[in-house]
C-alpha cells in the first residue's frame, strides 16, 4: 500500500483557485482516512455531528478532481471512494425494511467513529509529544555516582578445620620431640660447648658464621647465638683454647684450635 501519492506527470500541479477545500494536494495525507479526517475538519463542526453524506460527496469530488488532473491515486484511495459511493447511494435511498446488512446509518456512524478515533489519537500524540521530555526539557543527574560494590569477606571455617589444624600442630610436635628444645636464649655454656666441638673437629680456620648457622633454629635466634658465641669465644681465646682471626672490621670471623698446625 502506497502511503503517499506519486505524480506521473512532471507538470506543476494545478490548484483549484479560491477553494482551499478542493485543493488537490495529496502529498501530505497518510491514506484515505487521513484525507477524510482533513475534509471533515473543514466542515468546521464537531465530528460527532458531522454529515457523513456531505463528507462522502467531498471525498468523491476530490477523487474526481484528482482524476481530472490525471493524478494517479493509490489503490486504497480508490477503494475508499468506491465504498463511499456505495454508502452515499445507501444514504440517499430509502432503507429496505428487513435487511440483513447493517443499515446505512450504522455504516455512517461506524465511519464517524473511526474518524473520531483517529482524531482522538492524533490529539493524544500531540499532547504526548509536547510533554516535558527527558533529555529535552528535563534532565537527570549529569554525573550519577554509581553504587560501589564493596566485597566483604565472609570467612568460612568449620570446627573440623580448626581441630584438624590444631591436631596437625601437635602431631608435628610428637614427631619432633627428639630435636633439641628450642630456647629463646642460647646460654654461654651452650655456646662454649658448641665452640669446643668446633675445635675438636676443625683443624683449619673455620668461618664462625657458617658453623654457628647450624645452631640458629629460627631467624630470631641469630642474635642470641652470635652474641653468646662471641662472648664464649673471647673467653676461650683468653684461656688460650681458641684462635680468632678477622681480616678487616666486620669481615667474617674465623676460628681454629691453637693446637692445630697452621697450614700456611
Amino acid at each position: 500500500m502506497a502511503v503517499a501519492l506519486a505524480f506521473d506527470e512532471v507538470e506543476p500541479r494545478e490548484r483549484a483557485e479560491g477553494d482551499p477545500a478542493l485543493l488537490v494536494d495529496v502529498d501530505g495525507f497518510e491514506g484515505p482516512l487521513d484525507l477524510l479526517l482533513e475534509l471533515a475538519r473543514r466542515q468546521k463542526v464537531d465530528l460527532q455531528r458531522i454529515s457523513i453524506l456531505a463528507l462522502a460527496e467531498q471525498y468523491l469530488h476530490f477523487v474526481e478532481e484528482a482524476r481530472r488532473l490525471r493524478l494517479e491515486l493509490a489503490a486504497d484511495y480508490l477503494v475508499m471512494a468506491a465504498w463511499l459511493a456505495y454508502l452515499k447511494s445507501r444514504l440517499l435511498l430509502p432503507e429496505p425494511p428487513k435487511s440483513e446488512e447493517p443499515s446505512a446509518a450504522d455504516l455512517a456512524t461506524a465511519l464517524a467513529l473511526r474518524l473520531r478515533r483517529l482524531e482522538g489519537i492524533r490529539t493524544a500524540a500531540e499532547e504526548l509529544a509536547a510533554r516535558d521530555r527527558l533529555g529535552r526539557d528535563v534532565f537527570p543527574r549529569g554525573a550519577p555516582e554509581p553504587i560501589e560494590v564493596r566485597s566483604r569477606p565472609l570467612w568460612e571455617a568449620s570446627l573440623f578445620d580448626l581441630l584438624s589444624a590444631y591436631a596437625r600442630q601437635r602431631q608435628h610436635q610428637f614427631n619432633a620431640r627428639v630435636t633439641l628444645q628450642k630456647r629463646r636464649v642460647w646460654s654461654l655454656a651452650e655456646a662454649r660447648e658448641a665452640l669446643e666441638r668446633l675445635i675438636g673437629t676443625a683443624g683449619d680456620w673455620t668461618a664462625l658464621d657458617a658453623y654457628l648457622a647450624a645452631y640458629v633454629a629460627r631467624p630470631e635466634q641469630r642474635a642470641t647465638v652470635l652474641a653468646s658465641a662471641l662472648s664464649a669465644s673471647l673467653e676461650m681465646v683468653r684461656e688460650g683454647q681458641l684462635l680468632l682471626r678477622q681480616d678487616a672490621p666486620f669481615a667474617p670471623l674465623y676460628a681454629r684450635s691453637p693446637a692445630a698446625e697452621a697450614p700456611r
Binding site: M1, E30, L33, L113, I121, A124, E127, D132, D137, V138
Partner: protein, 233 residues
Amino acid sequence: MKRGHLAILTRTDEAPGLPDRAEAVRVAEAILFAAPAPMSADEIAARLPQGADVAAVLADLRATYAGRGVNLVRVAGRWAFRTASDLAYVLARDAVEPRRLSRAAMETLAIIAYHQPVTRAEIEEIRGVATSKGTLDTLLETGWIRLRGRRRAPGRPVTYGTTPTFLDHFGLDAVGDLPGLDELKGAGLLEGRVPQELSVPIPSDDLALREDEAPLDDDLFAPLEIEAGEGGA
C-alpha cells in the same frame, strides 16, 4: 540539618520507636541524587535506617524540593530527581536533541501507548494506513515500545506495549496518567474492534500478559517477519 558525626550516633544507639526522620531523608536524598536510574520505593527503603517510613521520607523530600531547580518526581512508578521543567530554556544548551519522530511514528507510538496491548493490524485499522516496518523498528530502537506477547487469535499476531523507559522519557508515573486518556475513554474511543468481551478500554503496560495474550515464545527474534504475513488476513 544534622552533621555527620551526629548521624553516626543516631544509627548506633537508635532511640526505640522513632527512627531519625531527618537522617532518613538525608539518606534518601543522597541515594536518589546518585542513582543513575529511577529507584523504586522498595529499593530506597532497603537502604534507609531501619524502621524508617519510606513513604513519609519521600513525601518530605518531594515537598522540600518542590519549587526548586531540581524536583523529586515519580516516573514509571519509581522516584528520581529531575531538573525543573520550567528551566528547560537554560538547560536546552546541553540537550542532545532527541531524535525527532516522524508524525507517523509519533502516532503509532500514541496508539501503542493508549491502546496497549495492541497488534499491528489494530494500529493500522486506527490509522487507516499500513504501518511500515521501519516505523516499528524505529520505535523499538528508542526503547519506548516492546513486543509483549501474541494475541490468542488467528495468526497469533504480536502485541505491542510501552516500556518503563517510555514513561520515564515522557515524565509519566503510569500509563494511566497519559494525557487525555480520560477523554478518550469517556468518548468510547479506546474500545477496539477486537474481542469486545475481553477488551478493557484501559491501556495496560503490565508485565503480566492479558488473558487474550500468549507468551512470545522462541520466535522472539523474528516476530516482524512472521507478522508481516498476517496483514492481509
